[in-house]
Symmetry: C2
Subunit: 345 residues, 2 copies
């Protein structure tokens, strides 16, 4: 059995030079259609497949896209759905561009996380890196990546940087909308569970909540706010606190679904009817939101589309025509399900 065909074999069969084969393979211009056809035929006949390593070495770049996100193993399991959605979207863009996805969960709490990232990048030389929140708003992480010169698009960096190469969603506006929706249902005491303080984009949801309150003519009150950390467990703890005060809220809006689900669990345990006595809303629309009883009203954050857009930016940017990609915003949409209803009288 002969070994794999190389570009030389294709060239020989097609009766052209290897450079022409290369042109065809890379969809470069300046190849006569008839020549291209001959080459394509030869490729098909030989079942030729360009070797990525050789290609990468010669061109000094790879067809790899790195996806960097907070390591779920490093602490209490966050929403795994978050990560899968991200991967999903990035893979989608990679697939159509013959690129591969390298996943790299990393623990930002580790001191040498920057070095680790640099090593990864310098060894594999990815064409670009996608950094998910909350890593995307951490200077330590972003600087480490940028210092390698590798293009890097940040997902939901939170800070209002007008910097390019970011993809976000309208966290604040969507949260305001959810709050107005709750107020429209007659709720006067709408509580909020804040998220991980390291996560800037999630912090904007709190701002949106306040906007929504104001727009609905409702007073903001510290006693209706509990500080969570994005985890299911913190949602449970916050709900217990919020439901303990004298005048309990009639609605709780959590900065993410995991915490909302935690709150729901507490409500169920306490025998509080949802949504009869208490309305509950989350943010993200992870799978869990649909699996709890009652299903959670939430805001669908288009994580997959965000990651897909980011990957596409990286892939495109690398193929010469430097896109003038400003910050991209992909809007989130409110999803009303069973956990919210009219305020009890």
């Amino acid at each position: 059995m002969s070994s794999r065909p190389t570009i030389f074999d294709v060239a020989k069969v097609a009766g052209v030079s290897i450079k022409t084969v290369s042109r065809v393979v890379n969809h470069e211009p300046n190849v006569r259609p008839s020549t291209k056809e001959r080459v394509d035929n030869a490729i098909a006949v030989l079942n030729y497949r360009p070797d990525q390593s050789a290609r990468n070495l010669a061109s000094q770049r790879s067809h790899l896209i790195g996806l960097v996100y907070d390591d779920p193993a490093a602490y209490e399991m966050p929403s795994g759905g978050y990560i899968l959605d991200l991967q999903q979207g990035a893979l989608e863009a990679c697939r159509s561009a013959h690129s591969e996805l390298l996943i790299h969960p990393c623990d930002f709490r580790k001191k040498n996380v920057g070095i680790e990232l640099k090593e990864l990048i310098e060894e594999t030389r990815p064409a670009g890196i996608i950094v998910a929140a909350p890593l995307s708003n951490m200077p330590k992480i972003v600087r480490a990546i940028e210092s390698t010169g590798t293009p890097c698009v940040r997902l939901s960096p939170g800070n209002d940087s007008s910097k390019k190469l970011t993809v976000s969603t309208n966290d604040r506006e969507a949260s305001a909308e959810m709050t107005r929706y709750l107020a429209g249902l007659g709720h006067k005491r709408i509580a909020f569970i804040t998220g991980d303080p390291d996560h800037k984009a999630v912090a904007k949801r709190f701002l949106g909540y306040q906007d929504g309150l104001k727009e609905s003519g409702l007073e903001f009150s510290e006693t209706l706010v509990a500080a969570g950390d994005n985890s299911f467990g913190s949602g449970e703890a916050c709900a217990e606190t919020l439901l303990k005060v004298k005048k309990t809220p009639t609605a709780i809006f959590a900065a993410n679904d995991d915490m909302a689900a935690g709150a729901l669990r507490v409500a169920n345990r306490l025998g509080i009817d949802v949504p009869g006595q208490l309305s509950l809303a989350g943010f993200d629309d992870i799978a869990l939101a649909r699996q709890v009883e009652p299903a959670l009203t939430t805001i669908r954050q288009p994580l997959d589309r965000m990651a897909e857009t980011a990957a596409a930016m990286l892939i495109k940017g690398n193929s010469k025509d430097k896109g003038d990609d400003g910050p991209v915003v992909i809007p989130a949409t409110i999803k009303i399900r069973e956990s919210t209803g009219p305020a009890p009288r």
Copy 2:
């Protein structure tokens, strides 16, 4: 700014030949300690990092490990936790071996899935492939991978192949144990929700259930079996069926956690007290099992350790000393939580 240091730069600084540098970098024998030290110093001084592409090209193999699993996007979202655990474990092994993980969800329902896999493999030339269940028991998939000559370890292939390069857990024995545990609690009518028929390892759980019944002196009855497909939704449907018969079961054992959670949701909706009136058990121990109310009694399948073992086998196997790895079995352990209790009288 000078460009990246190469192996030549290191050799020059250390006053040795490039081959010696290569030896040091690859931890090959036959290097005098003092020489090694000089080289290590030079590497540190220059901040040298070997270029993977060049290395791969020259050695005709990469340091990439491919992880192939059923595409969650292709159909009703299965347990995402399953995938994350797999990735987690594989990443663990990769990390310590300076390998990278390439993820490749794929839809086995697509006709050309084999070609797609071959393309992926031939282009990226991974050092090995890990195939997760249920793909690992599909000849179409396994053959496509093996035809490329790439080492491939299968996770939970189900069929009793004495073939090497497989990592499984004791699905059948663990399921028997769970059934005996339920019987020990006094349950006489223990129902079972079967899983995806394409998934051989999950099928063994049904066998284990029957074993457990027999060992406990309980009669097997068709009316106590409902056919699910591993999805949350199918768990709901099966529970509705099972709880509709004249003599309802006092315990339901589902072949996975998603289905058990679905069943729990139905019980909650129907106002059936769990575990007071009905005990519920699952299999896998995904995050969801801990997030529902009451938390699910289940069987912890060590997916992460299985994937880690698989990746380690691939990495080791590639570094010459062809391990004589027989089929590896990593035992699952029963996790008793709140959803099971004594049979009602």
